[in-house]
């Protein structure tokens, strides 16, 4: 009689031991997992999250010289309502986005599809298209600035050969923004192309074989197979390039001089932010601009996330 309870006890003990082991096992797994991502999370919090919170706070302050500031409530946001420069920079940024993002995506899909074929010197072309990506934006801007120079630039020289007097590409307020857009598209194609290429290579060959058997032409194949199956990649690229386009700064900073007559018609939101934060030492207002930009990007990305259900196919 005595043996039985003992056995039960042992069994129960064993059971308890096992489940406890599993728990501690699980707990220690969590511990290690968290430990492993700590460096990344710390970086994220210190270098991204904390500055965002601080920027939000500073957007309610006004700055004096050398880091003194005082709380001014909603003043900066009220000031925005009357700031025509801000409105103009939003308009400039909108034009920039409307042109660079769709045209950039269209051209990079086109080139990716072409370079996905079996043609000679494929890797040479891929390298050529990718070169602008590994070049410093500042260097790109400098070279294009020389090409665009209205009196001594290559572009207007070539135009003069066929008897056309070229415009002032980066000084004419009506043209300058579009000159920048051309450079932006040119320098962005390579990066998107590589992403599209990997997307194209992920489409199973069997679909194409089946389509061929059914007698579909190449254009039909492109629209019925390639495009729908590429749509998750297109979605990813469009979100990333939209965010990137919202933050355009370096090209404008490098290509348009501070005393240029085209500055008002080219300055982007981030350029205006830079101007207030580092030139006019108006850091409170600059922070408010940054917060506004963050809000706009959030909203537009959210809209894209909703809309994607209508056109993105995940197999």
């Amino acid at each position: 009689m005595k043996e039985l309870p003992l056995e039960v006890e042992v069994k129960a003990n064993q059971k308890f031991k096992v489940s406890n082991l599993a728990k501690t096992r699980k707990r220690s797994d969590y511990f290690w997992a968290y430990l492993m991502i700590t460096p990344l999370m710390l970086g994220l919090v210190i270098f991204y999250l904390w500055p965002i919170i601080q920027t939000f706070y500073f957007s309610f302050t006004e700055w004096g010289a050398f880091g003194q500031y005082e709380w001014t409530g909603l003043d900066n946001y009220k000031r925005m309502l009357e700031d025509t420069n801000l409105l103009k920079s939003f308009k400039n940024t909108a034009i920039y986005i409307i042109f660079t993002v769709p045209i950039g995506i269209f051209l990079s899909i086109l080139i990716a599809v072409l370079l996905n074929q079996n043609i000679k010197g494929k890797s040479v072309y891929r390298t050529l298209y990718f070169l602008p990506v590994i070049t410093m934006p500042a260097a790109i801007a400098m070279v294009w600035k020389w090409l665009y120079n209205s009196d001594y630039g290559l572009l207007n020289y070539l135009l003069s050969l066929i008897g056309i007097k070229g415009p002032q590409w980066v000084s004419d307020p009506k043209i300058a923004l579009y000159s920048i857009i051309v450079v932006a598209i040119w320098s962005g194609i390579g990066y998107n192309m590589v992403i599209f290429l990997s997307g194209l290579q992920g489409i199973p060959k069997t679909y194409y074989e089946a389509a061929e058997m059914d007698g579909a032409g190449p254009i039909r194949v492109f629209f019925k197979i390639t495009l729908p199956l590429l749509s998750p990649v297109i979605f990813f690229v469009s979100i990333m390039s939209l965010i990137g386009a919202f933050q355009v700064f370096d090209l404008i900073f490098m290509m348009i001089g501070k005393s240029s007559t085209a500055l008002e018609n080219t300055q982007s939101i981030v350029y205006l932010f830079y101007q207030h934060a580092f030139v006019l030492n108006d850091k409170g207002y600059a922070a408010a601009i940054a917060v506004l930009l963050l809000a706009v990007i959030l909203i537009i990305t959210a809209i894209q996330m909703v809309l994607q259900k209508k056109w993105v196919h995940y197999d």
Binding site: F66, G67, K145, N149, D151, G257, S260, T261, A262, V279
Partner: protein
């Protein structure tokens, strides 16, 4: 066991590494035999050779103070300083200009030097009084003058000879300048007679003074851009562009006027002595005094060396600043023809440094020179000048409308505390 050993070793080596760090920290104290490194911030690339030579001379006397130079182009220099000052990371010694000294002194980010100078018997009488005044805030001197500059009228002898125009001299006035520009402009060859730069020093400030106007009123509360004298001076300047005698504002932002001038596309332009190292390479170029308007006037300004208030090596920094302000250093600047040294009596050597050029023109200007205005909000006002006046320069707006906007913005900036 192995794991533990590895961990132990890591810890040990880590500690050694840390110890190494703290070790080097203690050596950077102020004991005589130990090495100290200070940074020297400035913006003009053309002065790098002269500065390197001065540092070398300095190291002969002070082998333990290593000077690290930090070059930042002028366009970003004060933005960088501002940010560095906010973060407490200023260079130990740096260049300062008249436009910013008040802001930096009042912000307590640079060190007052008067007492240090008194302590070490460092005489401030060796420099022109106007320059010491420029760097005196509330009775304390904050900067040791380094150089000064006025403006000269540079011209291309070859273009003058071809057009049969006599070279400019001290008899020239506004009418003569215009007349010569008309004769020198040659559209077929792509040569402009004059570059009507949109710059304040060596530009519209000088013209406004020559016309009897002022930039900032004596009580420091308002600007004089909207006064008739100033409007007339600005209009005279812009008329060169209107009449096709000068490249347009757009052309000058795409290709710097100094580049056009150095390559023989512009016959005349105003420029400072800091361009001597570049312009002396073209034998066609020479310089004369600026033409007179109703009266003679030319802007004068000078740079100085200042010390960051939070420097860790105050003694070393002060030693270096003293040396930078010494006759020896001034002579290096003079010899290389880089800038006009501020140290009294060394200017002659500067003139001799480039005998092919009439550098005396710059010294002649000192007599009737007007100091560049310096108030706390000078930097902000300069920004508004660029933003607003460029609309007048590109003929988008009339001069009257532009000065109205500029005056309003600048007066607001002046009234700020």
């Amino acid at each position: 066991m192995k794991k533990w050993l590895l961990l132990l070793l890591t810890v040990i080596f880590g500690l050694i590494g840390l110890a190494g760090c703290s070790d080097s920290d203690t050596t950077s104290g102020n004991t005589k035999d130990e090495k100290v490194e200070i940074t020297y911030g400035f913006w003009d690339k053309k002065q790098v050779p002269a500065i390197e030579e001065i540092v070398k001379l300095f190291n002969e006397e002070n082998p333990n103070i290593k000077v690290k130079t930090e070059l930042t182009p002028y366009g970003q220099y004060f933005q960088k300083l501002e940010t560095a000052a906010t973060g407490g990371a200023l260079p130990d010694v740096m260049w300062m200009n008249g436009a910013h000294v008040e802001q930096y002194a009042e912000g307590k980010v640079i060190l007052p030097l008067s007492e240090l100078a008194k302590q070490d018997n460092f005489s401030l009488d060796n420099y022109p009084e106007s320059l010491i005044d420029l760097y005196t805030v509330d009775g304390k001197v904050y900067g040791i003058p380094k150089d000064f500059d006025t403006t000269g009228l540079w011209y291309n002898k070859k273009i003058f000879d071809e057009a049969g125009v006599p070279y400019p001299d001290e008899t020239w006035d506004w009418d003569k300048l215009k007349e010569a520009a008309e004769k020198l402009t040659n559209k077929d060859k792509g040569i402009w007679g004059y570059a009507a730069l949109m710059g304040n020093q060596g530009g519209y400030y000088d013209f406004i003074w020559q016309n009897g106007g002022y930039i900032i009123s004596e009580d420091g509360k308002s600007v004089g851009f909207d006064k008739p004298e100033a409007i007339e001076a600005l209009k005279y300047n812009i008329s060169f562009i209107k009449e096709g005698l000068s490249p347009t504002q757009a052309q000058m932002t795409e290709t710097a006027a100094s580049e056009l001038f150095a390559s023989g596309k512009i016959a005349m332009m105003f420029d400072g002595p800091w361009m001597v190292p570049e312009y002396k390479q073209n034998p066609d170029l020479d310089v004369a005094v600026v033409p007179k308007g109703k009266q003679r006037a030319v802007a004068i300004h000078g740079l100085s060396n200042v010390i960051a208030a939070n420097t860790k090596h105050k003694d070393a920094a002060w030693k270096f600043v003293q040396f930078l302000g010494s006759k020896e250093a001034a002579e290096v600047f003079a010899k290389t023809g880089t800038v006009i040294p501020a140290y009294n009596g060394t200017q002659e050597a500067w003139i001799q440094a480039v005998p092919t050029l009439n550098l005396q023109a710059y010294i002649d200007g000192v007599e009737y020179s007007v100091p560049l205005p310096s108030v706390k909000s000078t930097g902000e006002i300069w920004q508004y000048e660029t933003d607003v006046l460029k609309k007048a320069w590109s003929e988008e707006e009339s001069v009257e409308d532009a000065v109205k906007e500029l005056t309003k913005k600048a007066n607001e900036a002046l009234s700020k505390k």
